[in-house]
C-alpha cells in the first residue's frame, strides 16, 4: 500500500516525554481525520509502549527512544523502539497480568492494552540489545 506520510522522532527516556510522545503521534495521526475514540486508542497504546521503554528498557538510566509512524490510506503504523535491556521471554511478557516489576505496582497489562486498542501488535526484542513494538491501527475513512 502507498505510504501517504512518514516521520521519525528520537527523544530521551524521561518521564515528562511520555505525554509529549503521545501528542506527537496523535498530531500526526490527525492528518487522517480519525474519530476521537480512534485517537484515544492510539494515544493509550503509545503511552503504554513508551512507558515500557522508560521503565523496563532503561530502568534508572536515560536512553534514546525512537518512534516511527507511517500513514496509509486505511490507517497508521507505529513503531516504538528502545536500545535498552530487552525482553528474555517475549511470549511470557505478553501474557495478561505478567509483570517483571510487581514491586513497582505495575499491572502487567501494557501489552494486553496495546493489543486490544490496536489492530495488530508485534514485539521484537533481544536481551541486551533492545526492543521494538510494531503496531497498526486501522482508521475508518469518512466516506460513507
Amino acid at each position: 500500500m502507498e505510504k501517504l506520510n512518514e516521520m521519525i522522532i528520537d527523544f530521551l527516556s524521561k518521564s515528562q516525554n511520555e505525554s509529549f510522545a503521545r501528542v506527537v503521534v496523535a498530531a500526526f495521526a490527525s492528518q487522517l481525520d480519525p474519530t476521537l475514540d480512534e485517537i484515544a486508542d492510539i494515544k493509550t497504546a503509545v503511552s503504554e509502549a513508551v512507558t515500557n521503554s522508560i521503565i523496563h528498557g532503561y530502568e534508572d538510566s536515560v536512553g534514546k527512544i525512537r518512534i516511527k509512524a507511517v500513514l496509509y490510506e486505511d490507517g497508521i503504523e507505529i513503531w516504538v523502539q528502545d536500545w535498552g535491556k530487552g525482553i528474555e521471554d517475549i511470549e511470557l511478557a505478553r501474557q495478561p497480568l505478567w509483570t517483571s516489576k510487581p514491586e513497582l505496582d505495575r499491572s502487567g497489562m501494557g501489552f494486553t492494552i496495546m493489543e486490544s486498542f490496536m489492530d495488530s501488535l508485534e514485539v521484537e526484542s533481544k536481551p541486551g540489545e533492545g526492543t521494538i513494538v510494531k503496531m497498526y491501527k486501522r482508521l475508518k475513512t469518512k466516506k460513507s
Binding site: S19, F20, V23, P34, T35, L36, I39
Partner: protein, 77 residues
C-alpha cells in the same frame, strides 16, 4: 429524539478536529479568566492545571484553531 440522537452518534462519530476546537476555546476562556484574576499572562501549566488537561494537548488544540499562515497566504505584501 433519542433515536435521532443515537442515529447521529452512531453514524457521525465525533472527529478529533471538532473536539480539539472545544478544548482550544475552553483554554482561551480560562486564559482570559486567569489574566483578569492575576493581572498577568498565565503560563501553559497554570491553564493546564485549571483544565485538568495535559499541557501538550492544549498546545495541539490551540494549533487546530489557528489558520495556516505562511504557506498559503503570505501575510505581508
Amino acid at each position: 429524539i433519542g433515536e435521532i440522537r443515537r442515529y447521529l452518534r452512531d453514524n457521525n462519530p465525533i472527529r478529533v478536529s471538532r473536539s480539539l476546537r472545544d478544548v482550544a476555546y475552553k483554554a482561551l476562556q480560562i486564559r482570559d479568566n486567569l489574566v483578569n484574576k492575576n493581572s498577568r499572562e498565565p503560563s501553559i501549566n497554570e491553564i493546564a492545571e485549571e483544565m485538568e488537561v495535559p499541557r501538550e494537548e492544549i498546545v495541539l488544540a490551540l494549533d487546530a484553531i489557528q489558520e495556516p499562515v505562511s504557506l498559503f497566504e503570505p501575510i505581508y505584501h
